[in-house]
Symmetry: C2
Subunit: 412 residues, 2 copies
């Protein structure tokens, strides 16, 4: 039994500086890339003004620039992970919110409107190629999540990219949370994708971010003088967990996990306090014949595997920047499903105060439970090799005695 | 202290047979009404085939037809209320799902697409006129909710109809849960409406029903051979509570209750088990400076009245067909906000087994708590006159000893 915790971050991000994606694009898209680069930069700056408070972010970034380069610089990245005590990580796109998105809308939010599907795919392939290189630099520590956009337009392209990503060492895929006017995830259209992922052991991810932005902030792009209603951000941050779990609700009722019992899904950075009542509602709706029978049969295709059961067995929860309240609710949320995450290098993440926050969240809780949340669950779910990581953990892992002790120690 | 409970149903429905709305329409719309009647009937039949299982509903209706006429027949209605032990009720539109909707889309779901705003208003006025008559037949027992559709198009029309409804004895209004591409409820556009309702003491209602139907069932109207994905109904019944509380989320963060501390809102038939974690999330988002500060100020306009506080003070919850689990969770949900409802005459409602279900839900719980949920909260919230109702309660109210006892007694 080690005296240190094996820590896996279920939620980290990586991405190149915008201009550096050029070399990873299929050559035929480079001309369009050169033309789009200044437009994308301007849009990002505009979005930064609108949604991010520049001075807060600048203040946060100040003095940390070199370590934030870990978004694309492998050496800097390992220094951060080591300092945080993180042995392994799951890597999503969009290294730093303002600067490191893959081109052509192949970004974390995976928009379905205002993008050219062919170009979005080109951007996704460029990111996936680069990510494969990054992961290969320390494959025991990095689990890469490939970007799979607008899969509704072309299932063959989707299946091809999933196979290619798997072959290149990426074990997961990121799918869009929102499908716009296309088919939702309970539709039979997606069956070949679920089948392929189950066969290859590819883990499906939905990551927090996308939400009906125009409801909160008004039509995009905004007209001059357009009012942004007070409290818009408050609505967004309260609703975004719903939109993060939404794809899974469709998959659960669609019977995807009845047909593919080995298929794994992660809901990442989605907050987790909704889980107890989400499961209770799934159970209530599944069981209550009287109130819903007027609507017809919606259960027989599940063949006895209820949505609540499938949620407990097939779905894991990435708990980024986990507050203590969530750790205290662990049994109700689902202890075996909870996976801590640092969200490095996002400004809302725990870094550079990861160890302090870790202590505040877990201090005094039972060791086995903490071990499960900090890394045990993720190790099993993602297939990290704990034996291979053991020497590293012995050096960088947070000490169990420290996490049980009274206060934070300085970062290593 | 009475030995019987004062019962108020927070959720009942009334509506005319389709053809009978003609007499209540402004004359200039009657020609259009005659033309639309068969089209509306066909659409309802189609919708019935699609979403309702005809044989289940027929079986349920069989033998109860005369009492279902209580949707529009006042004598039949009072017989049902008396039999259920209900002294007072809140009345929404759409008496029986398949047949009693106000014309021109002025129905419970208040659609924003595929309706002509002028016609929808005409339908709403017709229903409101008739409802005023119904309420006036026993004003101490009936609290009528006026239909207020597509208010975003024309605030003057909206304010005029709210004033008119109030003058005609309707104490509440029903607003659309979904706003399509129009402005959401945190926008300053709605300020005159909130102000008027606070001034007049008009209670705002959001009632379960509307949801993004096309996500579940596919494009409407369906094309021949269009697949309805298995489990679509399961997704709908799990998601619809979110869409019922959604308008309130916007109002809370928009600061509506900071500016109008007397304004009252009811969320009706929305299930209630989401409330504890909804409030926890409101608190978490309001308090957690670190994770959200990058997004800017979204709190100062609330002037210290947090969304969670406003939810507890200004928002009440209509708990229709309340399962025992919700009654057991009453403290976490918010005992002072909970209002039982029968949903008569909807097929998913408790009638004709109201007393059996009431017993199953409340048996053995503390008398004061049961009194609050069954009618005390609603009496205060809606302003029923308990003294005037006392003689009626002495005759029809469920006996407290029976509800504490071991099993259901036959309906009175």
């Amino acid at each position: 039994m080690s005296d240190r915790y094996l820590v896996i971050s279920s939620d980290c991000h990586a991405g190149l500086r915008p201009e550096a994606y050029r070399d990873y694009l299929d050559p035929q898209y480079r001309e369009a890339f050169d033309a789009a680069l200044p437009i994308q930069a301007a849009a990002m700056e505009e979005s930064g003004k609108r949604f991010l408070v520049d001075d807060i972010n600048e203040q946060w970034r100040s003095g940390n620039e070199n370590l934030l380069h870990g978004a694309w610089d492998h050496d800097a990245r390992l220094r951060v992970l080591d300092g945080d005590g993180i042995a392994g990580e799951i890597i999503f796109p969009d290294g730093i919110t303002e600067m490191n998105s893959p081109p052509f809308g192949a970004s974390l939010g995976l928009p379905t409107e205002g993008v050219d599907p062919e170009m979005q795919w080109a951007g996704a392939r460029a990111h996936n190629r680069w990510l494969s290189e990054l992961v290969s630099m320390a494959p025991d520590r990095h689990f890469g999540v490939a970007v799979i956009p607008c899969l509704w337009d072309d299932m063959d392209t989707t299946l091809k990219e999933v196979r290619s990503a798997r072959k290149n060492g990426l074990g997961g895929i990121l799918l869009p949370n929102a499908w716009g006017k296309r088919l939702a995830y309970h539709h039979s259209f997606y069956e070949p994708l679920w089948e392929l992922c189950a066969d290859l052991g590819v883990i499906i991810h939905f990551h927090s971010g996308a939400a009906p932005t125009e409801d909160y902030f008004g039509p995009m792009p905004p007209k001059p003088g357009q009012e942004i209603p007070a409290g818009a951000v408050g609505v967004y941050i309260c609703e975004v967990p719903f939109y993060n779990v939404r794809p899974v609700t469709f998959m659960l009722w669609g019977g995807v996990f009845t047909r593919h019992p080995k298929l794994k899904v992660a809901i990442t950075e989605g907050t987790t306090i909704w889980a107890p009542e989400y499961v209770a509602l799934l159970e209530q709706r599944y069981e209550e014949a009287h109130y819903s029978q007027k609507l017809g049969d919606f259960r027989s295709h599940l063949k006895g595997k209820s949505p609540a059961q499938a949620f407990r067995e097939n779905v894991f929860l990435g708990a980024s920047c986990m507050p203590r309240r969530e750790a205290e609710m662990r049994d109700a949320i689902g202890l075996s499903q909870l996976m801590w995450g640092s969200d490095y290098p996002h400004p809302e993440g725990s870094w550079p105060f990861t160890r302090d926050q870790m202590h505040a969240t877990f201090q005094g809780l039972p060791e086995d439970d903490v071990a499960a949340m900090l890394g045990g669950n993720a190790t099993e779910f993602y297939g990290f090799d704990a034996e291979k990581l053991a020497p590293l953990v012995a050096k960088i892992g947070p000490e169990k005695s420290w996490l049980q002790g009274p206060g934070p120690q300085p970062s290593a």
